[in-house]
Amino acid sequence: MSRLASATETPREVQQPVLEAPRWSCSLGGALTTGLGIYGVVPILHSGAGCGLGHQFGMTYASGENAGGALGGTGTPCSCLVEEHVIFGGESKLRNLIKSTIELVKGDLFAVVSGCVPSLIGDDTNAIVREFDGKASVIHIKAPGFAGTSYDGYELFFEAVTDQFLQARPVEKKTINILGVVPFQHLFWKGTLPVLKATFAKLGVDANILFTEFGGVENLRRLPSAELNLVLSPWNGHRAAGKLEEKFGTPWYAYPAVPVGPKQTTRLVREVAKRLSLDQALVDRVIAHEEHHAYRFAEYFGDGLILGLPHAYFAVVADTPTAIGVTQYLTNEIAYIPDIVILADNPPEAARPAIVHELTDGIDVANKPEIVFEADSHKIRQKLKNRNFLFLLASSLEKITAGEEYGAMHHSIAFPSYDRLVLDRTYAGYRGGLALAEELTSKWVGPL
């Protein structure tokens, strides 16, 4: 997979159609939840009072019934703007809020995320934030909800960190940053990142995963010292990586998915090994060992699969990096047959040919799936009618209709998923395919 630089050059789509239940939130939501995923960051909302609590229902609960934690939900400091601020300005409220938050809340980096209201009323949020220079680390992410999605919010967070917080550092060999796994939007972010870090550690590569680790702000500081930025999506994280390249000259490589199971993980490892000039013998040894073990375990589900339900048609509705990883695993490793793949995250036009390539040329099956880019949940529902699939791997939005309308077994693998708790679980990495096989087989397996 070559770098998809063109994806970052597409102008933002100005046309935002009316939609039923798109599977994302606004840029404020994305910047807020990105901050929540980095331990040590204290998000401060400069917005209406509902913008934090709303995202507890709309993003953290939606991401495998996760609580927002001590700084999410009702814990997020917020200027709670009302009419008088619309008239008189919200700047003094924000100034007091930042000051009191620094006094009261433990944290290493305070990230002011401003929403629709301050943008509409013309608050000079930057000026207020700069008043704290020298007193504490405070950055401003301008993220009005009308100007972008939660996926944009992730990029805006890293752009702000790069512009306002990072300083150049010497490059450390064999260190990489992993970008493009958007917290909460990618359902398994908390499991995926540590698993891949552990895999790279076996290769002697120190992967900075930013999220899920104490000392998250030090992780941010280390961003410029990477030899390579690894982006695990055909479109997410590209702006962030582009920004780091522009500022620190760090090269970046985009793998098109969150890799699921041995084949994809080996492909990823080889791509990274090539770019970091890793010791070939070590790489071969690690790959052989990991694959050997993963496939020894795959033998355990062979009977259940072959006697129980082989060659099943399946459908996928998910964000692109999840959809590609899961579709390739089920097709290329356990010989299931993809009927339709719906990419529900509205990737930029420029990224779409490469996505289609992964879901056609990238899969080992006689008939290729129908590939649909669709974000409207009503249209997705209609599109899934009258098809062959037995399994529907999707969000929990499809939970009810899967049985009633499509006669299919449903499994939640993508945002939003309110019907399962997701903590450490991931399908990523060498053994991640086993987890997916366990869950899927458990949907129907009985005495053989």
Partner: protein, 517 residues
Amino acid sequence: MSSEKECPPIDLSTKTCPNREQRANGVNVFFGKASELVAKARNGTLCNRERQFQQSSGCVLNFYLTVRIPTIRDAAVVFHAPVGCSSSALGYRELYRGIPPALGRPEKFDLQWITTNLSETDVVHGASGKLATAIKEAEQRYHPKAIFLLTSCTAGIIGEDLEGTVAEVQPEVKARVVPVHCEGVRSRLVQTGYDAFWHGVLKYLVRKPTKKQHDLVNVASMLSYTWQDRLEIKRLLGKLGLRVNFVPEFASVEDLEQLSEAAVTAPLCPTYTDYLSRGLQQGYGVPFFLYPSPMGIENTDGWLREIAKRTGKEKEVEDLIREEHAVWVPKMKKVRDEFLSLKGDGTPLSVLGALGQGRLLAQTPYFHELGLKPVAAIAQDFDNLVLEETEQLVREHGDFPILINTFQAAEQAHLTHTLDPDLTLTCPFQGTAYKRKKGMTRIHALRGDALPTSMQSGYAGAIACGEFLLRSWKAKSFQQTMAEKTDDPYHPWWYQQPNPHHYVPEEPVRNVSGGTP
């Protein structure tokens, strides 16, 4: 109930209701004795103040309306908003699906909403065309009986003419279009959202009565009342030969239209129901009462009697109460005895509870029935609608400290830490306050919960909830382990100073309007 002069008549000729701040002097900031609170409310010195430290707590749109209005079964919702304002509604298809059809949930139903997904271009050029498109799209896709338009901060600030668009589009669509002015910035009080919703219902949906339904009781139920609460209420009123018209959650549009034909409007939460109740009385002569709510045995007796008074069931209700007492009072005694035995010296456990101001009123007497001693109360907000009842509460049960705030996690953690009650009733909206050595459990379950153990209403609910609270005393490992092993988000000085309102200055906020956008 609070007198008429404290509560101006409902004016449906306006686009929306006044804010709670203006309608009933609502506030969401106070810490002190309940007696001071009511004295200040009486002498007009109770006012909102601007927190210097504040946490996200829900807005007029995004506390209740976003999640609840899309559950009206044959309606659709259009959010006239940027995409983030409706994200909390993403669970819409699954809500209520956990209830088995055997318990009375319809087999098939569809809930739906659309967002106008406002963009930067819309903000610059206006989005009434897009709103019209969304309404027509909803009509064409879902064939709903009503379409609720829920507005947002952005739609309000850019000056979208909702009524203009509705007037233009209504002739083209069969569904009744109901604009609801719930711009987040319009009010500090989430309860303004309830009033704004009822305003739309009263103005656009409730029909002129075609017949009077003398056995129909309107019950407006909130998210904190579960399916089992409905069943218990249905059971009790059913024994009186009455039918229940539950609105708005999981109701049909017909249920909302026929509100005018009912014999009485009864509350589960008084201030949630207030605007609707007054509107129905004013417009259609439907009598109402706001106190008590059916929580606890005594409250349930009172609630049933208030309904009976207005439905000619005074005699039947006494038989019902007698019958029910024979079953439930001995069970309540058992629960009470067990609570009073827990400390070993016969003294009651201290409890910190409450959530909305309605719960504040209902819960305190119920705690006393259970043999629990409330040490303080927390309420989301406070307004004159419950002033007399709060005065009565103080007279009957004594003075108590009260913290008025809308889900301020740091303030609630502070108060819980300072008072250190034996049992705290919390919810995820109270941040880290659940992490502690002593007892903790949830304050209530939610709408779609079909477990009998989650019930709180009526007689069965009084016992079920008591038993539930007893269970919480038997196991405390989660809150204790989390208190010991996880980081507290606040610096230690927070807990070492005495005032949960450390960041609340004395001067009042400026009031800028009557709430009409």
